[in-house]
Symmetry: C2
């Protein structure tokens, strides 16, 4: 009989039907439920190699932290996506440190790095899928780089507020200026100054610990 976990793995892993029965069994036996509260750090740079997170619900954020403590968001992953960089120890030639935290409460299935690595070395469908995931994340990082290179800060901030509002499905965002700065690789003061400008222009209303978007079209025009 197929377990609930096995059904979920089959639904979320595109290579499931290309696995050998033995590989399916190992995955079902060794994958475990892991849930995290908002704000928890799931993976801290190169300090751990916890495994791959398959997201059942919620949202995680991947970012880098500079020596000075500056952060910038690289990408975010939601339901049914696979987080592979929390297992970067299993990947040769990855020489950067990524941090991963829970942006909302998240429910995940954790696949141990060693097991995934072992299967990936033998099964070409898994290897090719890994390749696709890495390529997607590289595209995300290229996007961040291009944004930084090209866009003035007002455009990047306006874009961030719109994306955030779409993700949260609300116009009232519970987020601090500090948190926004950490998404955009900027300083809190810079965010505060630009938010004040946006508020004066009538795009947003500022409240303690939250921002309400009142003219989304205005923000979109800015971009």
């Amino acid at each position: 009989m197929t377990s609930k976990l096995e059904q979920e793995l089959e639904e979320m892993l595109p290579f499931w039907n290309k696995l050998q029965n033995e590989q399916k069994a190992m995955l079902s036996q060794r994958a475990i439920d892991k849930n995290y509260l908002t704000g928890t750090i799931l993976h801290a740079g190169s300090e751990d190699c916890v495994g791959l997170f398959l997201i059942r619900s919620g949202r995680i954020r991947a970012y880098i932290v500079t020596e000075e403590g500056k952060e910038i968001t690289l990408f975010r992953l939601v339901e049914k996506e696979l987080c592979i960089f929390s297992a970067s120890c299993m990947m040769r030639n990855i020489s950067f440190d990524i941090w991963i935290s829970a942006e909302t409460d998240v429910e995940t299935i954790l696949i141990p790095s060693s097991l995934y690595s072992q299967i990936s070395e033998k099964n070409i469908a898994v290897a090719n899928f890994t390749n696709e995931v890495v390529s997607s994340r590289m595209s995300d990082v290229m996007w961040v780089l291009e944004e930084m290179l090209v866009k003035s800060f007002d455009k990047r901030l306006a874009h961030f507020l719109i994306i955030q509002s779409d993700l949260e499905k609300t116009d009232t965002l519970k987020i601090t200026h500090e948190q926004i700065a950490n998404h955009l690789g900027s300083a809190r003061e810079v965010v505060t100054r630009m938010m004040k400008y946006f508020s004066e222009e009538g795009f947003i209303v500022l409240k303690r610990g939250s921002v309400k978007i009142i003219d989304k079209q205005g923000l979109k025009k800015l971009i």
Copy 2:
């Protein structure tokens, strides 16, 4: 009898011995010699999908170009390295455009995208190697991102001059301020201003179309 090309492929492709004889034969038959003069563009964004370049000699540069024509160098490849992003059409989930040009005269072996793709889908050693190459390039891009995020422009410029001098194995670099700006995603005026400062500090001597490093230690201290 093994051809010279086949010997080179064996030497440069780590997966060669894991290929089937038929795959070896196809590669040997369809790979071709391609040489380019300094400054030639080998691959222009998403406009073409020419294939994978195995570099026999010389150096190529991969960069992005913004809509405004601003450039930034992502990585450079030298002898015995494989350039895979000139075949990015064969990779799913790559959503960015990379440009590749010859920084010096280069001699390459060109492997057609379709052939590599076909072999990679069937041979796990090739798939895993592709993965390693993509991970390496992603690490390069992360490095650029971190540099942009963290370092002030004087440090990035000092670092660039040192790397360039190591690559060229000389202290006299034949490079214009415009070219340096295109490596660092900056403007020519910004480079000129900082080079003037470096020259006043006694790190370099400026000449038309070239820069002579006279105090490498001084530049290193700056970083």
